[in-house]
């Protein structure tokens, strides 16, 4: 019997070459250009092996891997990675990819990877035949599988949380240690550094708790008739020290002539705080910006809306992949310093206001976030 294999790559050339070489090796090859198309074909054809590129526009290889593994954990997924994508490749292993091979694709490497995938499949099949003889066991197993699927969703959330908390505990443990050494040795430098570490991580914990509470709460905004400049000014006052520490200029362009607006001051404060924090972080990122970092928070009136807030930075900007994912929970580009909650909650609060949030961003140039809140009359908001 010929074995089915699904080949996913956005480059036509690679699809063609691999198609030929895989067909020669006796595979029945299906090809897909995008993650979405791949998933459709996968569902129809159920190939036991999937060979996918990691970097693709839209749904990338890692997301495809996760989706396939969710639907069919036994499918062997081999990742194709570009030179220098080692971090991505390793991430894919975390999600249970069988293997990865690097571009340009070496025939021997491909053969080894396929052989390994096949060995795994044979092993799994044998194991399954063994167990499935026992009808009772099968029934239990099915029941457990359903249960497991339900738990997987919960598990993902909990795992994301646990990871964020673990990072903060790491900082707290370190801070406590440094502070203790400072006390023991009466060393001013240790005292100060340890204290800063503790303070910083307590702040992170506090923010995460606030974000989580906001996330958990299904609630209508607590509307007040407010000067829209006020929450913006509060956020600027809060963030000035942090901006200064990192040599980023932080400015507000308020409009004192704006009429009062119905909004939830705490919620909007949270949103602006998240956006300004991100904007400053984007300017600090030494990787991609050498110029003087600058963040501007603008409050203005736009046609059709009660008020518009803009947060503009000239920091590192986002690539297309990042742009697609920023509102997802636990998605973060800040490594262990980010929880992946901030923007998701910002969007939730704005949605609850029936407002709009949008952004434009260019890699290496900067990012602009825009929040717009609708007109509300008093009668509808009591």
């Amino acid at each position: 019997m010929t074995q089915k294999i699904l080949l996913v790559d956005d480059e036509e050339g690679i699809r063609k070459v691999l198609d030929i070489s895989l067909s020669d090796s006796g595979f029945k090859v299906f090809t897909a250009e995008t993650g979405k198309e791949a998933l459709d074909i996968f569902r129809k054809m159920r190939p036991p092996i999937v060979l996918t590129d990691i970097k693709m526009p839209g749904m990338d290889g890692i997301e495809l891997l996760q989706k396939i593994k969710q639907e069919s954990p036994d499918t062997e997924v081999i990742m194709i990675t570009g030179h220098g994508d080692m971090e991505l490749a390793i991430r894919s292993l975390k999600f249970d990819a069988t293997d990865f091979i690097t571009k340009p694709i070496n025939d021997d490497a491909l053969e080894i990877a396929l052989k390994r995938a096949n060995e795994k499949i044979t092993l799994k099949t044998r194991l399954r035949e063994h167990t499935e003889n026992l009808e009772q066991l099968v029934r239990e197993k099915t029941k457990k599988l359903v249960e497991a699927e339900r738990l997987a969703a919960v598990g993902q959330t909990v795992a994301g949380l646990a990871h964020a908390i673990k990072n903060i505990t790491g900082g707290l443990t370190g801070g406590t240690f440094v502070l203790e050494k400072g006390l023991q040795l009466k060393n001013e430098k240790y005292l100060r550094e340890g204290w800063d570490m503790l303070k910083g991580n307590v702040d992170r914990l506090k923010n995460m708790a606030l974000d989580l509470l906001n996330y958990a709460k299904e609630r209508a905004p607590d509307y007040h008739l407010c000067d829209p400049n006020r929450p913006a000014r509060e956020v600027i006052d809060l963030m000035i020290p942090r901006a200064r520490e990192n040599d980023v200029s932080l400015e507000i362009e308020s409009d004192e002539s704006l009429p009062k607006v119905w909004l939830d001051p705490e919620g909007i404060h949270r949103c602006l705080l998240n956006l300004v924090t991100n904007a400053i972080d984007a300017c600090i990122n030494v990787d991609c910006t050498q110029r003087q970092g600058k963040v501007v928070l603008r409050i203005l009136k736009t046609e059709g809306w009660a008020v518009e807030f803009q947060v503009v930075d000239n920091g590192c900007g986002m690539d297309e992949e990042t742009k697609e994912k920023i509102f997802r929970r636990f998605f973060s580009t800040k490594g262990s310093r980010g929880t992946g909650l901030g923007l998701m909650i910002t969007k939730k609060i704005i949605d609850e206001h029936e407002g709009a949030i949008e952004f434009d961003s260019e890699k290496g140039k900067g990012t602009r976030f825009i929040i717009r809140l609708p007109e509300k009359d008093q009668s509808t908001s009591i």
């Binding site: 790491g170 801070g175 490594g335």
Partner: protein
């Protein structure tokens, strides 16, 4: 003279913590924020031990580790990996990389998952520098 130990981690908190641990235990800490800077300092200062994070922007710890182990002058410096990556994932990645590059890179002297406990880390440091 106090032995030099190089700490490579992109996170400020982690660098302060580990350098303080080293300083107060009688070692001379050096620090670097990524693999590139780490290699430069390692080459110049020839530390007795390197404590290395895996996931860092710019040059990662994975690359730095392989470069260290392929450098005749530095390959004998013991390395303790401290990373948020699970031990299993790290060793698997090493195996796969070994296969593709057709080389066999020695395992690190120790592997500690983040966040590291001070006692645990200090014990590994002492073991390496005995």
């Amino acid at each position: 003279m106090a032995k030099r130990v190089l700490v490579v981690d992109d996170e400020l908190d982690m660098r302060i913590f580990i350098t303080t641990l080293l300083e107060t235990s009688g070692y001379k800490p050096l620090s670097a924020v990524d693999g590139k800077e780490g290699l430069e300092i390692a080459r110049q200062k020839k530390p007795s031990l390197i404590i290395l994070d895996v996931m860092m922007p710019r040059e990662s710890g994975l690359n730095m580790y392989r470069e260290l182990k392929n450098d005749p002058e530095m390959k004998n410096i013991p390395v303790i990996m401290v990373s948020a990556l699970s031990k299993k994932t790290f060793f698997h990645s090493q195996k796969v990389l070994d296969e593709y590059k057709g080389e066999k890179i020695a395992e690190p002297a120790a592997y500690i998952e983040k966040p590291p406990e001070p006692d645990e880390l200090l014990e590994e440091i002492r073991n390496c520098l005995k």
